[in-house]
């Protein structure tokens, strides 16, 4: 159970550390489900507040997957109460690169297109896809965070890739 003060999550240093370490991942995870960044940041806050409330009973070694579990449930709760269907949408920021301005605009539009393709992927597969490609996590790590098997992660990823591939094929 509780070891030293340092390990105990009810301590402000430890708790802050857990936030700094996984806060962005949790936000991205929630975002992959709802597509709304402001909402994702709100729910991230709620997730950590819940963690704080349960800090005494939380094993620091499993806090990572625990956070994902809390976050996932919070998203479900939010939309259940809202009575609005969850609808993945997109943000409009894109990277600046070396293209001249008129072509930057076109690239933004293409990225918006690809982001739209994401909304056609079922939620579980989309989440895995984004954790893999945008957060650059390995399948084993994704499996650990989501508490599923690596095979399950691979299946979801495969599904996402098939959908993207087919969407591209149709357009071309």
């Amino acid at each position: 159970m509780k070891n030293t003060d340092f390990d105990n999550l009810c301590h402000d240093v430890a708790f802050r550390k857990v936030f700094m370490e996984y806060g962005e991942s949790i936000r991205n995870f929630i975002y992959s489900k709802c597509g709304d960044m402001a909402l994702a940041e709100d729910i991230t806050q709620d997730t950590y507040v819940t963690l704080w409330q349960k800090c005494a009973d939380t094993d620091p070694l499993t806090v990572k997957s625990f956070l994902y579990k809390i976050a996932g449930n919070k998203v479900i709760d939010h939309f259940r109460h809202q009575k609005v269907a969850m609808n993945y949408r997109t943000n409009k920021k894109s990277l600046v690169d070396h293209l001249t301005p008129q072509f930057q605009l076109e690239e933004q539009e293409y990225k918006a297109y690809l982001d739209g393709v994401l909304s056609s992927i079922p939620e579980a597969s989309r989440t895995v896809f984004m954790m893999s490609r945008i957060e650059k996590l390995k399948y084993a790590e994704i499996a650990d965070r989501l508490q599923v098997s690596v095979k399950a992660v691979e299946k979801r990823m495969h599904k996402a890739l098939i959908i993207i591939k087919n969407q591209l094929g149709r357009k071309l």
Partner: protein, 310 residues
């Protein structure tokens, strides 16, 4: 190794390079994989907005560490909702546009007597000679800097950029140079005016540097000397080195917007020389004089008849 259901994880393992040789073989048959790989590159570039962790922490700490009680509040003010609606509308419009602008070919053509200037996404400048065409899609550009050319164009590539020009008979790859590519009929020719260029006609490869050129006629590759800073046609002249009369008169037709008919002239004879693109009479005099031919200009300079000199 479990055999069941591995096909349900196939693509997931494919991108990690985790396939059995048999699976790799199967995938070689699958269509659309290269496009998928390219789309994945774009997804990899997508970054989500930065999360101001420090600011978020301040907010969180106030609710946890520094709070006597933890109070959960959720406000949804009208303003953010309006912004989300606006974003959704912008997205719907954007998706429609986004695909088509990325995949729609950008095409540039010149007709007879015309030259055109095109600027590529990286700032490289392309000047098209008459009767030529350049096309590319932003998709191909992002993928591997490829443009397609028919006819002839002079390229001034922004320094440090890699570039491939694909023409029916070959490819030219460069690194920050100035070069001219010509692909007409059976002739594929590249002249390098600055820097270094790699050229292939799918059979032979060659690297040429400033002052060098190569001309492929079928399988035969001939070295060329390039003595000027820019191709002749950009200075109002058409230059030829052992080109067939057919090629010479074809170019003349392109430069002057007219039709040339010949009667009993051996069009495979070779011509080496220069004609002016500014003056039809002078051009004809130059070529015909050198080749013992006579010419007749008709129909208000729209038709020229060539025949052998008596």
């Amino acid at each position: 190794m479990k055999q069941n259901n591995t096909h349900e994880t196939l693509l997931a393992r494919w991108i990690e390079g985790d396939l059995t040789p048999k699976e790799a073989e199967q995938l070689a048959e699958m269509e659309g994989l290269q496009d998928l790989r390219d789309a994945l590159d774009v997804y990899d570039d997508m970054e989500l907005p930065a999360y101001d962790l420090n600011k978020a922490w301040d907010r969180l700490a106030a609710k946890t560490i520094y709070a006597e009680k933890t109070i959960k509040t959720k406000h949804k003010s009208l303003f953010p909702t309006m912004m989300r609606i606006a974003a959704a509308i912008a997205l719907i419009v954007g998706i429609g546009l986004g695909y088509s602008t990325y995949f729609r070919p950008k095409q540039f053509f010149t007709s007879a007597g015309q030259t055109a200037q095109v600027t590529l996404p990286d700032g490289s400048a392309v000047t098209l000679n008459a009767g030529s065409g350049l096309d590319y899609t932003l998709w191909q550009w992002k993928r591997n800097k490829v443009v397609h050319l028919t006819g002839e164009a002079f390229f001034k590539v922004t320094k440090g950029q890699k570039f491939t020009v694909k023409t029916p008979q070959g490819q030219t790859a460069v690194l920050g140079t100035q070069f001219d590519v010509l692909d007409r009929g059976k002739t594929f020719q590249v002249k390098c005016f600055e820097g270094k260029v790699w050229v292939t006609n799918q059979v032979t490869e060659k690297i040429i540097t400033k002052g060098q050129g190569v001309k492929f006629s079928g399988q035969v590759a001939k070295d060329l000397d390039v003595t000027s800073h820019k191709p002749g046609w950009m200075a109002g002249e058409s230059k030829f080195f052992e080109n067939s009369l057919q090629e010479v008169f074809d170019e003349m037709q392109r430069q002057f917007t007219l039709e040339i008919q010949s009667d009993g002239v051996d069009m495979s004879r070779r011509f080496t020389g220069v004609f002016s693109n500014q003056n039809l009479e002078k051009a004809l005099a130059t070529v015909c004089g050198a080749m013992h031919l006579t010419y007749e200009i008709k129909n208000d300079q729209k038709l020229v008849k060539i025949s052998s000199a008596k």
